[in-house]
């Protein structure tokens, strides 16, 4: 099935959108919204159905993945430097993993995409237009599934997963509150608001993420089936 792909503004140099087949499916959602679990389940299901799958996510590039992780430990980079560092990580994976996989007709499952990066930066004061231009060479996904979870679910899952709050997920660098829990709530609410805005702009399919893992998986499978069977 070769229907080509589109890019938000223009493709990176040397990429012919008509030569891209396959599918790019993105799962977005807050930290602890269950994203990674569902990416893995969906990946297993796709392989069972006979689709070749490639997975991408944040901080996974060969080029700067490790350096980004290191930079995060120290909290010494300015927000704009972080933006550009993450953009480097993103484009490395776009050009070296996503695009080659699509040329070969794979299904690429992205555990988060440019939207998480934009939302985090906007909350930290970045100009949305600057970000839209920065990510203008991103491939438009075939579908973005956004796992929407309530604050209660989010709090519960965060503690279940780690028993403690994470500095960045609590937005402690944003100076919202010195109280970690309070900061977590304020930060995650801001993130949700931004995601809601982006969802409209970029056509997210919002999925209720408060349900059980099997129930949510069934819905994601049915949505995925729809995407694979009905080329746009």
């Amino acid at each position: 099935m070769n229907r080509g792909k589109t890019f938000y503004h223009h493709p990176p140099g040397g990429v012919d959108p008509r030569k891209l087949s396959g599918w790019l499916l993105v799962i977005e959602g807050a930290d602890s919204s269950g994203r990674s679990t569902h990416v893995n389940l969906l990946s297993e299901w796709l392989e069972e159905q006979g689709y070749a799958v490639a997975q991408v996510g944040l901080k996974r590039s060969t080029l700067v993945g490790a350096e980004l992780e290191l930079a995060k430990q120290g909290n010494v980079l300015s927000p704009r430097t972080m933006s550009l560092f993450y953009a480097t990580d993103f484009y490395d994976q776009l050009e070296n993993v996503i695009i080659p996989a699509l040329r070969a007709g794979f299904v690429v499952l992205a555990d988060r995409y440019i939207y998480t990066l934009m939302v985090r930066d906007v909350v930290r004061g970045a100009d949305p237009e600057w970000l839209a231009s920065l990510y203008g060479m991103a491939l438009v996904p075939d579908a973005v599934f956004y796992l929407s979870v309530s604050m209660n679910t989010l709090v519960e899952r965060t503690f279940q997963a780690r028993n403690q709050l994470d500095y960045w997920e609590s937005g402690m660098d944003c100076g919202l509150s010195r109280d970690w829990f309070q900061s977590f709530l304020l930060y995650q609410r801001k993130i949700r608001r931004e995601f809601a805005g982006l969802g409209k702009r970029y056509g997210f399919r919002v999925v209720n993420g408060n349900r059980s893992i099997p129930a949510l998986h069934r819905e994601l499978v049915s949505l995925t089936r729809g995407v694979l069977e009905n080329p746009a």
């Binding site: 503004h9 223009h10 990176p12 140099g13 040397g14 060969t62 080029l63 700067v64 350096e67 930079a71 010494v76 980079l77 300015s78 704009r80 430097t81 933006s83 550009l84 560092f85 953009a87 480097t88 484009y91 490395d92 050009e95 070296n96 600057w130 231009s133 920065l134 203008g136 060479m137």
Partner: protein, 228 residues
């Protein structure tokens, strides 16, 4: 950057641009020495030098992992780090900041590599425009001669080998530098470069740029307030 908002800082930014071999690094070094010796608040910053991203750049270049896009982004990351931690705070603190290469280096090289010029300009849109950008201009052959006469081993990206212009590094370097020069020349008016004839002697060039600096910048303002 094209809109040129009036800078809201008391410092002055001076950048030098030009081809490899144009002598710009020597010139800005001499300018720096002179300003320091005269007791001015002055700071020097170099392209691609921030500690944090240096490692990634080094790895990417060595293993040839970089595409034109990521090559450009990693330099932008480096620049943003230096800009927000050093350059802008120093300008706000009332310093003369000297930059050996500025965003125009990326505009020239990355455009030759195929990056979209509009994308590059928007990405660097946060960077203030220098008060003076000295462009050290000389014929391509002269610049090539200065670099190549020592028969150096050209580095992969330095020679533009990633562009596939020629399998021979020297040949590739020549074509690449020629295209970079075309980009610089096209930017002279766009960004108001101050051209310096880089075929003149080192001394004559230095005299010229010191004179221009004195005409355009009120140097007295930059005297150190406290004796050291």
């Amino acid at each position: 950057m094209n809109e040129r908002p009036k800078p809201d800082y008391p410092g002055k930014l001076v950048a030098v641009e030009g081809l490899d071999g144009s002598g710009k690094s020597t010139q800005i070094y001499l300018l720096h020495q002179w300003l320091k010796a005269r007791g001015y608040r002055v700071f020097f910053s170099e392209w691609n030098s921030s500690v944090l991203v240096k490692e990634a750049t080094r790895k990417g270049k060595k293993r040839q992992l970089l595409t034109p896009t990521t090559f450009s982004l990693i330099h932008a990351t480096d620049f943003a780090d230096r800009y927000e931690r050093q350059i802008l705070p120093l300008l706000r603190g009332g310093h003369i900041v000297l930059c050996d290469r500025y965003v125009f280096t990326s505009f020239a090289r990355d455009a030759v590599r195929g990056c979209d010029p509009g994308w590059l300009r928007r990405m660097y849109g946060f960077a203030t425009r220098p008060d003076i950008t000295f462009f050290f201009r000389l014929p391509l052959e002269t610049a090539l001669g200065r670099i190549l006469e020592g028969r150096p081993k050209l580095k992969y990206f330095e020679a533009g080998m990633d562009l596939g212009l020629s399998p021979d590094p020297t040949e590739s370097f020549k074509i690449f530098q020629g295209r970079v020069l075309d980009q610089y020349i096209a930017m002279v008016d766009e960004f108001g470069f101050t051209e310096v004839d880089a075929t003149l002697t080192v001394h004559a060039q230095q005299r010229t740029i010191r004179k221009i600096l004195q005409e355009r910048v009120d140097l007295a303002f930059f005297h150190k307030r406290y004796a050291q």
